[in-house]
């Protein structure tokens, strides 16, 4: 699931992020939040449901490890189908997917983890603050970022020294 969900949505979002047009009221538009929700749920239910078929199902009286996830996936599949059907009856709402901010935030998280692993955590914190600030609304300010980073490093040091957190700070 962790694999399949982002894959699906990455392809979806690439379609969507390019279209910042006002809501289209045609019958078959992909940029429809309700329809996409149904498709997303469908993908999740299939990912889990098909995988659980690989595990022993057993009988009801002696359930195998695959039975319960299979049943839950079937329920989810039902809900996905209902959602898709219902999206045909209600007004289409566009999906407001802003790929810029979420990418910046995720990049700063992953950068933090990588830098903390290979250099140290103080460098990771500084990177995170500088990278994440690109997503901010206010103008980019190096001085402000330095101040925030210094403050957060101080907090991290306090966590390590006073609360006994095991942080690889330096």
């Amino acid at each position: 699931m962790v694999e399949s969900a982002p894959q699906l949505t990455a392809s979806e979002s690439s379609i969507l992020s390019s279209s910042n047009l006002p809501p289209i009221h045609s019958e078959f538009t992909m940029n429809d939040r309700n329809l996409l929700r149904g498709l997303f749920l469908l993908a999740i239910s299939l990912a889990f449901g098909l995988t659980s078929l690989r595990y022993p199902i057993g009988q009801f009286s002696r359930a195998g490890p695959g039975l319960f996830p299979l049943m839950v996936s079937c329920l989810l599949l039902l809900i996905a189908v209902i959602t898709i059907l219902r999206s045909r009856f209600v007004e289409h709402l566009p999906l407001g997917f802003n790929i810029k901010n979420i990418s910046i935030i995720l990049a700063s998280l992953c950068g933090f983890a990588l830098i903390s692993e290979f250099v140290n955590m103080i460098a990771g914190i500084v990177f995170m603050v500088f990278c994440a600030s690109f997503a901010g609304t206010a103008s980019y300010s190096v001085v402000r970022n330095l101040k925030i980073a210094a403050g957060l490093v101080a907090v991290a040091l306090a966590f390590q020294k006073l609360l006994g957190f095991n942080l690889p700070l330096y």
């Binding site: 929700r37 009801f60 989810l76 996905a80 007004e91 995720l106 992953c110 983890a113 925030i148 957190f165």
Partner: protein, 511 residues
């Protein structure tokens, strides 16, 4: 008089210096997260979960509980002064903000504080009487009944938090499926792990919570680009005697409604506020003023909010089934500490149970001092710009995730769930039911398999047992009602001509 004796015993535990300190920390942090955008009680409790490894059990639970009910206080302050509710104080925006517009901010804040105090106190009385009683009932529950009860919880939470049964139920089920990742307890088989070793213990609770609530929430706030204007008006706190007299009846009504609704599955602060507000609008002596900035409009809902936040502990501690997402996290905290919440907890760990109950009242006293006389200082928190705030929240999310296992890989999992959480948000799917599903999922499976084992594979036991039969019938009725409501709605929309309402399903909210 047993209860009095037990409460005295509880205060003995709650009033040790150490526990007082934890209570104060919890309440302060709670108020702070209630005030600040982008970090609700759910995210905060999950950040602080790893911290609780190193502090004593009683103190840890007192602190986490303090964060939860403290956040309700803080939330109402930001709702009243700036019309920004973060977690639950949607109703406080109506009359509270109207009072601010009239220049009566101080009175509104005082009313909210005092009513919350009254609500909290009433709820604690209810808690100390009902929780042991309900614990006795819980002994009658078999596996089938537990399954049915959890399903009722899913249905109610779905409906209450998202307004749409279908969307909420989908999230619950996704949560249940995510809870399946890892090793199957009965057969020892690895499920959905994609041959990744770090998934064999399951997905970390903290990673999911921080991804879906922390990261996704930050990104949503960044997308919204809303500039907050901090409140700078004058605050005159002390009310006159006639004003004070108007607070009491509404607050008491709200407390009773809130205490009752808090116990029900799916209950909790949000629904309690709406109910209390609606009832005050019907029965209050000043009902014509409600909606235009009346004291009653603030008092009733604030009391109900606080009361429900506390009585929602009852199902967790007496039956062992959390009824909303925050309680599910609290349950995780109990389990981390090696305590299984449920009918045996009150008898087995009386010091913890009564200590927690008593600490709630101590917390009440802390909160009223923090939120009424000191409220001016809290309002300066709003002057922190979001561009400073969000890197800090991100930092706390990172540290929180890392310290669960001292493992940087967890940060990547959090990032993945941040993306998934953001997609959920954009698809109008509320992640709160997912949390409940995730924590109850393994329990649901366990009880489901046990029930089928006992009945030798027959599903009739779910219907013939009185408790589970009643609960399932309730779910059935609810689903039928939803379908009928949807059909009526679409027909009305068609009749009403070309332009149907956005999101025509019943009670759907714009967000």
């Amino acid at each position: 008089m047993d209860v009095l004796h037990n409460l005295a015993f509880g205060f003995e535990h709650a009033l040790t210096w150490q526990n007082l300190m934890f209570c104060a920390i919890g309440c302060t942090v709670g108020t702070l997260v209630g005030l600040l955008p982008g970090l609700g009680p759910l995210a905060t409790i999950s950040i602080l979960l790893p911290l609780t490894y190193s502090i004593p059990t009683g103190g840890a639970l007192i602190m986490l509980a303090g964060i939860y009910y403290g956040a309700q206080y803080g939330d109402s302050v930001s709702a009243i002064t700036m019309k920004i509710p973060h977690a639950s104080s949607i109703v406080a925006c109506i009359d509270g903000y109207q009072m601010t517009l009239k220049g009566k901010t101080g009175l509104a804040l005082f009313t909210a504080g005092v009513s919350s105090f009254i609500g909290g106190t009433v709820a604690i009385v209810v808690l100390s009487f009902f929780a042991p009683m309900l614990g006795e009932v819980a002994f009658l529950f078999g596996p089938a009944d537990y399954c049915a009860l959890m399903l009722v919880g899913f249905v109610c939470v779905s409906f209450v938090t998202t307004g749409s049964l279908v969307n909420g139920m989908a999230m619950c089920l996704i949560g249940v499926l995510l809870g399946q990742v890892g090793t199957d307890v009965n057969s020892g088989m690895q499920r959905f792990t994609m041959n990744l070793t770090f998934l064999s213990d399951g997905i970390g609770l903290v990673s999911i919570a921080l991804g879906c609530f922390g990261i996704a929430e930050i990104t949503k706030n960044l997308d919204a680009k809303d500039e907050r204007t901090p409140f700078n008006g004058a605050i005159k706190l002390m009310p006159t005697w006639p004003e004070f007299k108007r607070i009491i009846p509404s607050a008491l009504r709200g407390s009773v409604i809130g205490s009752f609704l808090g116990i029900l599955p799916g209950g909790g602060p949000v629904i309690a506020q709406f109910a209390a507000y609606a009832i005050d609008k019907k029965v209050s002596k000043y009902k014509d003023e409600i909606g235009k900035g009346a004291i009653e409009g603030v008092a009733g809902q604030a009391a109900a909010d606080e009361a429900a936040a506390r009585t929602s502990f009852i199902p967790l501690m007496s039956i062992g089934i959390p009824e909303n997402a925050v309680m599910a996290l609290m349950m995780a905290a109990f389990i981390i500490k090696g305590i299984q919440p449920g009918p045996n907890m009150i008898a087995g760990h009386p010091d913890l149970f009564w200590g927690l109950v008593a600490s709630m009242w101590v917390g009440n006293v802390f909160l009223i001092t923090l939120n009424v006389p000191l409220v001016r200082y809290w309002l300066s928190v709003f002057k922190i710009p979001y561009s400073v705030l969000f890197p800090s929240i991100l930092f706390f999310c990172c540290i929180g995730t890392y310290s669960v296992n001292n493992n940087l890989d967890d940060v990547f999992i959090t990032a993945v769930f941040g993306l998934i959480g953001y997609i959920f948000l954009r698809l109008d799917l509320d992640p709160a039911p997912l949390m409940l599903g995730f924590i109850l999922g393994p329990m649901l499976e366990e009880n489901f398999r046990r029930a089928l084992l006992l009945s030798r594979g027959s599903f009739t036991s779910f219907l013939t047992r009185p408790i589970s039969g009643t609960l399932l019938a309730f779910i059935g009725l609810f689903i039928v009602w939803q379908i009928v409501a949807f059909m009526l709605e679409t027909r009305k929309a068609k009749v009403a001509a070309a332009q149907p309402l956005p999101g025509a399903e019943l009670g759907s909210q714009p967000e």
